[in-house]
């Protein structure tokens, strides 16, 4: 941490008590150290395992096999199918969230009675535990007595045991949970659109579609992009919902990772897969933070 050692010359060095330099290091270094010990070190540890053949359930020591795990993984059609399942899931669920969430925001972006209460109630799903709520969606989707089939009048439709249906069923639950998030961000974006632009458009007799297309959308777009990247990243990592609702049918990368590591106990291979996932997530995080900072500066 040599970079930390030199303090900005303009800052006030206190004449008594600890110096600003001491305080700064005291405040920041423990957190950085804690995160290095409990996040970075474990990842270095598992990087080591990714080059070995090792079963955490057995007694044999790890055996170095170089890049074999990575080669096997990239040549395994099963893994590619996990990635394409995940991609399909991300597409359906994030796409749905963007449409439903932005739609809700357009609806709520007006004055009406009990607005505060209605908004808060709509936000409730995203605050609840996905594992526990997902369990009850399983009940709602039950083919023989679930209220979903009854309400839709579609007989004994198999939501969760058929792979394609299950993907949509889990995505619908995810849309239910996270559309409120997109709505919340969109509402913030909509409320920041200057009112005089709409007034000018009204004077020019612009059509509602034209106003939406050329005023609302461009001004809300940056914030929608943030919602899109964040939800894409979260959906890519999806574990709780598909795991609790339909492990067998919706095999996302995260579920495959869990199975490889804690059911097949193929620790070396799981560590390698974890690294592939990690690189994807860090790439998306990088993009996310870039846009986050851009919006912040506005």
């Amino acid at each position: 941490m040599a970079a930390l050692a030199k303090l900005h010359p303009g800052s006030r060095a206190a004449a008594h008590g600890w110096s600003d330099l001491t305080i700064r290091n005291l405040f920041i270094l423990p957190t950085v150290a804690f995160l290095i010990i409990f996040n970075v070190f474990p990842l270095i540890y598992s990087l080591g395992f990714s080059f070995t053949q090792y079963r955490a359930s057995g007694n044999k020591p790890a055996e170095f096999i170089g890049l074999q795990n990575f080669r096997d993984l990239l040549a395994d059609p099963g893994i590619w199918s996990n990635f394409s399942t995940t991609a399909a899931y991300v597409l359906v669920s994030v796409g749905g969230q963007m449409i439903v969430g932005f739609g809700l925001a357009l609806l709520l972006n007006r004055k009406f009675p009990l607005k505060g209460l209605v908004t808060t109630l709509l936000l409730l799903p995203m605050m609840l535990s996905p594992a526990v709520v997902g369990l009850f969606w399983k009940l709602l989707y039950d083919p023989s007595w679930g209220p979903v089939n009854y309400a839709l009048g579609i007989g004994k439709f198999e939501w969760l045991s058929h792979p394609t249906n299950a993907l949509f069923a889990v995505a619908i639950t995810d849309i239910w949970m996270w559309s409120p998030f997109v709505m919340l961000l969109s509402l913030a974006g909509l409320s920041a659109v200057p009112q005089h632009l709409y007034e000018a458009a009204a004077i020019d007799r612009a059509s509602p579609w034209y106003t939406f297309r050329h005023i609302t959308l461009p001004l809300v777009a940056p914030i929608l992009l943030i919602a899109l990247i964040f939800r894409t990243m979260e959906a890519f990592k999806s574990f709780d919902l598909p795991f609790v609702m339909s492990t067998a049918s919706v095999e996302t990368v995260a579920i495959k990772l869990y199975q490889t590591a804690f059911q097949s106990w193929d620790t070396g291979r799981a560590s390698a897969l974890a690294y592939i996932v990690l690189i994807v997530v860090l790439a998306i995080t990088n993009i996310y933070v870039k846009y986050l900072n851009q919006v912040k500066e506005r």
Binding site: L123, A131, F136, L184
Partner: protein, 318 residues
């Protein structure tokens, strides 16, 4: 807005209001279903067609907290008459409450709930405490490579839990931290710490530097200024950050599933595990779920003005 509204606008407004009501009903119906199932008699919970109106009962909650066995023979009239209301409810269902020396035995649920409380509260205090100091450091002092350090801190939050859980599982096994409260507390603290730094930095950035500078001129040390000026000003932010951290730890599933199984197991992995064992009693699971979701529902109302800020890691303020 023009003072005169046309018929078209009025129709549009009515349509929008109807759509809002419909959206609220659709979004709340799953939550209503969980809530109502917790108060349903057993035979109504999985009826065809689904039952919407029924006479509520507290029996699921009694079952949630007690250990029970099938009745071999009916209780005598005196036994039944002497039993409190909750025991009668169990008798009525053809079961009896297991007792040791007259005191009813508890199910595993209270223990799992307590584990959730212990782990969530302690990890929240640690994450918010450390996070507030660090956020102050980032907010007030020049730091070389500040943007990179902040990105590093945030990126630890974005790591998929399963990716971190694999090495943590192996390491915890070596040091004996699997299935321990401490093990989960450390992980949740690490997970929430980055969030807490980012959110608190936003809150502290908003407190004018001049407050502390005036205090420093008055002879306060930097530490005194931090504790007496900055912390009280940041109180709302600290509270909001704490609630977010608590909710995250309270809801966390993947780490808890992998790293705990009995002693330190929290409610999120415990509640779904009940479904696996035999014929699930949905009313009892719903009762446990309602008690588990209740704190978060209350916090959502308390937090409603800070949700946007928390969800965007402090980037968007309102």
């Amino acid at each position: 807005m023009a003072a005169v509204t046309t018929t078209g606008q009025r129709v549009g407004r009515t349509v929008a209001l109807v759509a809002i009501v419909a959206a609220v009903l659709v979004f709340l119906s799953p939550i209503y279903w969980i809530g109502s199932t917790a108060f349903k008699p057993r035979e109504v919970a999985t009826s065809v067609p689904p039952t919407v109106f029924f006479e509520p009962t507290l029996t699921p909650f009694v079952k949630l907290f007690t250990k029970r066995v099938q009745l071999k023979e009916k209780p005598t009239a005196e036994e039944y008459a002497a039993a409190p209301w909750w025991e009668k409810a169990i008798y009525d269902g053809g079961e009896r409450v297991l007792k040791v020396k007259d005191s009813p035995q508890m199910s595993q649920y209270p223990n799992r709930f307590a584990n959730s409380l212990i782990v969530a509260i302690i990890s929240t205090v640690l994450a918010v405490g450390m996070g507030t100091f660090t956020a102050y450091g980032f907010s007030r002092f020049k730091i070389a490579g500040e943007a990179d350090l902040l990105f590093f801190i945030l990126s630890t939050r974005m790591l998929p839990p399963i990716v971190v859980a694999i090495p943590m599982f192996l390491m915890y096994r070596v040091v004996g931290l699997t299935d321990s409260h401490l093990g989960l507390i450390i992980l949740y603290t690490a997970f929430n710490l980055s969030f807490s730094v980012w959110l608190m930095k936003g809150f502290i950035d908003e407190i004018p530097k001049e407050y502390e500078e005036a205090a420093l001129v008055d002879g306060y040390t930097r530490m005194q200024a931090f504790f007496r000026i900055v912390l009280p000003e940041a109180a709302t932010g600290i509270a909001a950050t704490a609630v977010f951290c608590f909710v995250t730890a309270w809801n966390e599933y993947a780490f808890a599933l992998i790293l705990t199984n009995r002693r330190a197991q929290t409610a999120p992995p415990f509640i779904p595990s009940q479904v696996g064992s035999g014929l699930p009693e949905w009313t009892v699971i719903a009762a446990g779920t309602v008690l588990f979701l209740l704190p978060v529902a209350i916090f959502t109302f308390l937090l409603r003005n800070h949700l946007l800020r928390g969800m965007s890691f402090g980037a968007i303020r309102k």
